[in-house]
């Protein structure tokens, strides 16, 4: 209780119904996942959980997720026909059941393969009112809402990587709004999630990808559909 909302969160958003959590939030999960993949997805396995699994079809959650994966936003009137759009765009989609432990009731796992073969697995939750949370990327904890440009770096758990990433951002005049660190075990796989006030350039991301000990770099851009030119 006690949520501060701005005027246009009360009157708005304009969205395709019927549910802000099961439809609008699901479109956004698909959209953000496509942005994270960084290219057009060719094949996606959609694994539903909890209420998404139980009442998903009646709320159009399935079509909403696919619409987002095609780059549509929650107010796109083509959302109900997204399955047909997907076959036109040669996006292969399969549905299944996710077995998760202690996940938010409106959760989904998207296992994506991009047109260039890049693979990414995203676990996300729809929190209500169209807000979402990206909970895991490739099985590692993530925990961000995709409301800022967000940089996700998977690396070996060894000294120096945080310094490398933050000094690069400082050099590029990108301010860090928040930062999280997780690892699966000491010396194992680690992940850092940086929400930024400015966009991070493609060149900076490429530079990070080539650093020794960095396993994967994923980036969420606030710019509309960054996958168009890929």
């Amino acid at each position: 209780m006690g949520i501060k909302m701005n005027v246009f969160e009360i009157v708005g958003p304009v969205m395709v119904g019927p549910s802000s959590s099961h439809t609008a939030g699901a479109v956004r999960i698909g959209y953000v996942s496509r942005q994270l993949l960084g290219e057009k997805p060719a094949e996606v396995s959609i694994l539903l959980y909890g209420s998404f699994l139980a009442t998903g079809r009646g709320h159009g959650t399935d079509r909403a997720l696919v619409a987002g994966l095609l780059g549509m936003l929650p107010d796109d009137e083509r959302i109900p026909e997204s399955m047909e759009e997907a076959s036109k765009e040669h996006l292969k989609v399969t549905f299944g059941k996710a077995s998760l432990k202690e996940a938010h009731p409106n959760s989904v796992v998207l296992q994506m393969t991009g047109q260039s073969g890049r693979k990414l697995e995203v676990q996300a939750a729809s929190l209500g009112g169209g807000r979402i949370k990206i909970c895991r990327i490739d099985g590692l904890e993530a925990n961000f809402c995709a409301e800022y440009p967000t940089l996700i770096v998977h690396n070996m758990d060894q000294p120096g990587h945080v310094a490398e990433v933050t000094s690069m951002l400082s050099h590029k005049s990108v301010n860090i709004a928040s930062m999280q660190l997780y690892r699966d075990r000491r010396g194992g796989n680690a992940v850092m999630i940086l929400e930024c006030d400015e966009e991070v350039s493609d060149e900076a991301i490429k530079w990070l990808e080539h650093l020794e000990g960095v396993l994967k770099v994923t980036y969420f851009s606030m710019k509309e559909d960054n996958t168009e030119n890929s």
Partner: protein, 294 residues
């Protein structure tokens, strides 16, 4: 937000010699660092999106469960016969409330205000008011700011989500927002706007969220009618000089308390009430079977 109660909005308006809606508009400009005309432009866009959704109503469209669709057209036809009991204005309000809620259930584009499930209430009264009383666009946008400010206070002090406060938080909030907006359009000052909020919300306190098969259809679509009509009657009461014994902010706090203590099974879980009636269970079974076939 510089205000945390409806009373504060009224006081700010009085002190600055401006109106209720202006305080809310100014706050949006401050909050998001935009100009007044940028904010106003966006509100006009919301109003136009409501109009467009109303115009694009498709009577032949059915929801995936087939429980919702087509009733808005029936109401339109019946009101047009002139035989209906509630008259031309209320008849039109009912028609528009059902149409918008059906459009939402059928995956059409709507404006969530404050939520998708309660999206029919505000446009039903505002679009009908404009049709009957020929208001300017600007006036309608001002009414929407009034409604938005009321919604902000409810969201902060109580809740606007069925999952945390039951249906009173969705249809109740929408109805209070619509009553405030209508009272503004009828020339009511801040005090009357607050009384309209209090009276309309009191009428819907305790309303549960127990939708059939977990879908935003039964009873949600028809409840949009209750929210909209309740807003009209509350406005008339207030404009006739009727006042609320309990101040609006205290009614909102009461709604928050009722929502917090409401059993979980009545908060969008579909584990109680209407959702577990034999008829609802039969529908749920039918939906489950048809999904297995696909």
């Amino acid at each position: 937000m510089v205000y945390h109660s409806l009373k504060e909005i009224c006081l700010l308006a009085e002190n600055e010699n401006s109106s209720f809606w202006q305080i809310i508009c100014q706050d949006d400009c401050m909050e998001r660092q935009i100009t007044q005309s940028q904010s106003f432009e966006m509100m006009l866009h919301m109003y136009e999106a409501m109009e467009k959704a109303d115009r694009n109503y498709a009577p032949e469209r059915k929801s995936p469960s087939r429980m919702a669709g087509g009733d808005g057209e029936k109401l339109k036809n019946y009101t047009e016969t002139g035989k209906n009991l509630s008259g031309a204005f209320i008849g039109r309000v009912m028609e528009k409330a059902v149409k918008m809620a059906e459009t939402n259930a059928c995956m059409g584009r709507i404006v969530a205000a404050p939520t998708a499930g309660s999206c029919g209430v505000l446009p039903a009264v505002l679009l009908t008011y404009e049709e009957f009383f020929d208001c300017s666009r600007e006036k309608m946008a001002q009414a929407l700011y009034t409604a938005a400010g009321i919604g902000q206070i409810i969201a902060e002090r109580a809740s606007i989500a069925g999952a945390s406060g039951g249906c009173q938080a969705e249809i109740g909030s929408a109805s209070a927002m619509a009553a405030g907006a209508l009272t503004f359009l009828q020339g009511g000052d801040g005090r009357r706007i607050c009384d309209a909020v209090a009276i309309s919300l009191k009428g819907l306190l305790g309303l549960t969220c127990d939708p059939v098969a977990g879908l935003v259809e039964v009873p949600c679509v028809k409840r949009n009618v209750i929210g909209a009509v309740n807003a009209v009657t509350s406005t008339d009461m207030v404009m006739a000089g009727v006042t609320s014994v309990i101040p609006a902010d205290e009614v909102i706090d009461a709604m928050g308390e009722i929502g917090r203590d409401m059993p979980r099974k009545f908060k969008e879980t579909s584990e109680g009430g209407l959702a577990v009636t034999p008829a609802a269970q039969a529908i749920e079974e039918q939906i489950r079977l048809s999904e297995e076939q696909i």
